[in-house]
Structures are given as C-alpha cells and as structure tokens.
Symmetry: C2
Subunit: 315 residues, 2 copies
C-alpha cells in the first residue's frame, strides 16, 4: 500500500466526522455548510496531519486534530472573504445568500464553536493552547494584510510575516500536532514543525505567484485578484524594487486597461518571475531538508513530494 | 462594604487584564480594540460572574471566566453587526474603518483566540466544553434570527429560542461558571444556571421592548432598529396576533412614514405594551426565585436586584 492509498481510509472517516460535526437544526447553517464546508476543498491540512501522524507511527487524536485544523481554516475562509453587500443584494441569490456576509460570518463562528468542542474532546490542554497561539497569529496576519494594503506599507519583511501568519503557522500545527499528541522528543517535534512552516510558506508563495502569473483556465478564476485588492506579493515587491511604476499600478488596484498584462510581461521579461520560482523551490527544499531527523518511511517521502510539488504547481 | 463596592476591585483587575489580553503589535487591531473593547461597555457579564462567585464564597479562575465571557460577547458584537460596505466607503472614515467589515470580523476572531488562551490558562477542560456548547448555541441563535426574518417565520416559539440562544445561554454560563469551577453540588449549580438563563431572557426581552418603546434620548439611538431589520420581537409578535396589518409593516421594514409611531401607539393603546412589561416582570421574578437554594448574602441580594431592574430599565 502506498502512502497515498493509506490516506484514503482516514480521509473518508474525516469527511464523515466533519459532516456530523457541522450538523445543525438551523436551515441556513445547513445550507452554508453544504456549500462551503462539506462539499469541498482539497483537504490539504488534514492530509498533512495524517501523513505526519503516520510518519511517526500514528498519533492519538489524529482525527480530532485533522478536524480542528480544517474547521479553523474553513472559518477563516468564511471570515476573510466578505463580499460587497450591495452587490449581493442586486444579484438573484438564495435567501441565506442575501443575508450574505452576516450569516457567513456567524456560520464561521459556528465552525469555531465546533473546533472548541473537538479540542475539548481530546482532553489535551497543551493542544488548546497551541490552537490559541495559532488562531491569534492567524487573525493578526489577516488584519496586517489589510493594514499593509491600506497604508501601502510594502516590504519583504511584511510579506514574510503575512504569509507565515496567515498560512504557514496553521500548517506548522498540522505537522507538529501529531508529535505533540505523541509527546515525541523535542527534536522530532521541531523537525515536523519546521517542515510545516516552510511548506506553508512555499505553498502561499506559490498561490501568490499563480494569482498573477497563472492562467485563468487552470485557476478557475481571473488572474490579478491580489493586485485588485492592493496586496503586494513577492513578485510585485521584487518588481517594485526595480520598476517604481509598479507601485502606481498597485495603488490604482490595476484598474487601467492593460495593467495586469503589463505586470505579467514585465515579470517574465525582467527575470523576476523566474527569481520568484527559484525562491519557492528553495523554500520547498528547505522543507524537505527539515525532515532529516525522521525515520525513513513512505509517509516521510509523501510529505517531501507534497513540498516539492509547490515548485511546479499550476493551480 | 456593600456587594457593589466589593465588585470594584475585581472589575478594576478585569479591565487591566482585558487590556493586556488584547494587546497586539498590529496597529489596526489596536485601533479597533481601543474603540470597541477596552473603551467600554457596562460589563454586565463580568459583573454576573463576580457576583455569582462571591455568592458562593469565591471561585477559582473567576477572573479568567469573566474575561472569557466578555471576549465571547465582544467578538459576537463585532461579528453580528456588519455594516453596509458601500456606505462605509462613501463616508470619510479612518483607514481601518474603510476596510471595515473584514477587519472588524478578523479582529473579533483575534478576541476569540484570546478566549481560547484564557480558557487554556484555567486548565479546566469541562469549562472549555461548556464554552463550546454556548458558542454553538449562540451562533445558531444569531443565524436563526436572520433566517426567521428572511422567511418571515414569526412565532413566539422562535422568539423564545432566539433570545435564549443569543443572550441567555451566555448569561447562564456567567452565573453557572463559578459553581462549575468550585465543583459545587448539582442543586447549587442548577440554581445559578437557572438564574442566569431567566435573567438573560428578561434582559433581552427588555432590550427588545426598549428598541421599539424606548426614547431615542435614553437609548442614544433611533427607535425601531429591529423593525427595520425585519426582526419580530415579543411586542410585534403579540400585536401581529391581534392586528394582521402589523405583519405588513414588518415586511416593509417600517419604511412608510409614520409606521413606527403607529406601532408604538398601537402597542400602548391595545394594552400589548403593558402585557409585555408584565411578562418581563414575571421572568425577572422567576430569576429571583431560582436563587432560593443559595445562602443569604449581600451578593445574592445584588443578583436579585439586577434581575428586578429589568422590570423597569429605560436604557
């Protein structure tokens, strides 16, 4: 059995447990959760949990950990992606959509309450405290991202802090969690934590790269979403250092015709796109190297493969 | 020293601890929390905690419990009161306000992460589980309120469920919590839980009554907010039973000139306003009676007085 085949059973149990956890007798909650939670997602975070757990020979409460990280992730999605209320009202949406933002936010809170319940079920207070740290960092990172866009406070340091806070620390908990639950030796726990953190950074760097340089077909959405929200990513930051006009494009949220195509072309022709790809590859390899202290298993190899995929992922 | 004087010291410690808990090096979070958390509120929930704790002779972790209930309450305020994004953008608001809803919601999440940290500090898993239940019920109640307004699914049963879920269960935890932390006998814990629940219902009934029947001067805001959001409360529900036109007023969100004044007058002249006041008084007295099993102390009397105030509160 390969490592990926071995994940099928726990992922199936995960889907069943998740569906059960988000049950409610309130209709609108059922509708939202059908839509946004139970219907989808690549379950990257639960996969990380199960692989890390198995790389150690299995951890107690791995299912609860997988549920908890996915609940926190899903709640964050419901909370940071608010849509324009006026736009929603104009559309012909289902009733629960017309009450859109407030109901989405509250349904994210419902998920957080189920996260609390799931953590309580483990009886492990140090896990509760780790989730408290991660949730704090995560919300700070999300707010910082808005703040940086509002104040045009663009810097590589802010970029690193944002991708670490809003993505990498949760992935760090995914892979560190099983070691914590097994009460592993500090060096094993640190190795898995470091892998998750570096993998998470590479993952977000890749997402940000594709947001500008990907194809709408592969992404299933228009490119340039970050530019339109005034969010500087590694690629626009490196471009800005060499071409000051890029700051102006970001300031006007890429609204002029041709702005996005100009950025894409500039990135390719200046070599900045290749530079960003190289940095992602480097981060992914650092993640791979972090796993050194772990015993050789197919699960360790699967974690490595997951990280290296970030060097080439197209969607 | 009276019971209220005895609260001064713990409430002061509470304010200090709260300010410290919501510290962040992210500017926008500091601005929002200055505005909405540290600057205000009547601290009704922490008061309930301290009074209930003292009525039992003092409970371990009473400060943590007071912080936790207030953090949950404040996060809910930040999450259920989303404003129209378009309106915000037109106004001349501070930068963090222009990023209004998303930043407010995420800053509520920051508070929830501090709640998790505070709960972890107590080391008491049964408290974590009780918060999980309350948070679940709370978010379900908030969503149900939107759903009932959207589907015009008005009934007294739905009203009771909404006020219980969105207000009373948290107040129940405020007064039950100290008994839980002290590991009191079940009848003492049940008595305090019942008091908090009934008090919370009376409190929300009073708030809803004042929303229509209060004066803008005392309330510091225009009356009729609930009608404008299509939310039926006890007073409009009882009116609807006798005057079917009231449903129409609610459906059009009280938008016609004179709608609100007509409702107010109808409530007074039909005796429905007096009927609602009588029901609030009854609920407050039930809360008082629930305290019977507790020993006679000034703190028990202070809790009773708090409940009876709901029969006459004007703001």
């Amino acid at each position: 059995m390969t490592a990926l085949e071995a994940l099928e059973a726990p992922l199936l149990r995960f889907e069943e447990a998740l569906s059960e956890l988000v049950q409610s007798d309130v209709l609108f909650l059922r509708l939202i959760h059908q839509d946004l939670v139970t219907a989808g997602g690549k379950r990257i975070r639960p996969r990380l949990v199960f692989l890390a757990s198995r790389a150690l020979g299995g951890a107690p409460f791995e299912l609860e950990l997988a549920l908890a990280v996915e609940l926190l992730h899903s709640a964050t999605l419901l909370h940071d992606d608010l849509i324009d209320d006026a736009e929603t009202r104009r559309g012909k949406e289902a009733a629960f959509r017309r009450y859109g933002n407030a109901v989405s936010v509250l349904s994210g809170d419902f998920l957080l309450s189920r996260l609390l319940h799931t953590l309580a079920r483990t009886g492990r207070m140090e896990l509760v405290e780790r989730f408290a740290q991660v949730a704090k960092t995560l919300s700070e990172g999300e707010v910082l991202q808005f703040q940086v866009a509002a104040l045009e406070d663009y810097s590589l340091a802010n970029y690193e802090r944002i991708i670490t806070a809003k993505t990498a620390v949760l992935m760090e908990l995914c892979t560190e969690g099983p070691a914590l639950l097994r009460r592993e030796a500090p060096e094993v726990r640190a190795a898995l934590a470091r892998f998750g953190l570096l993998y998470g950074q590479a993952f977000q760097m890749r997402d940000d790269y594709l947001d500008l340089m990907g194809t709408p077909e592969a992404l299933g959405k228009p490119v340039g979403g970050d530019v339109r929200e005034g969010k500087a990513t590694l690629i626009t930051l490196l471009l800005m250092e060499r071409f000051p006009e890029v700051r102006e494009v970001l300031r006007r949220r890429g609204r002029e015709p041709g702005d996005l195509e100009w950025l894409r072309q500039l990135a390719r022709e200046s070599g900045v796109a290749q530079e960003v790809e190289a940095r992602i590859r480097e981060r992914a390899w650092q993640a791979v190297e972090a796993l050194e202290p772990l015993p050789q298993t197919p699960y360790k190899e699967a974690l490595k493969a997951l990280a290296l995929k970030e060097a080439e992922r197209l969607a």
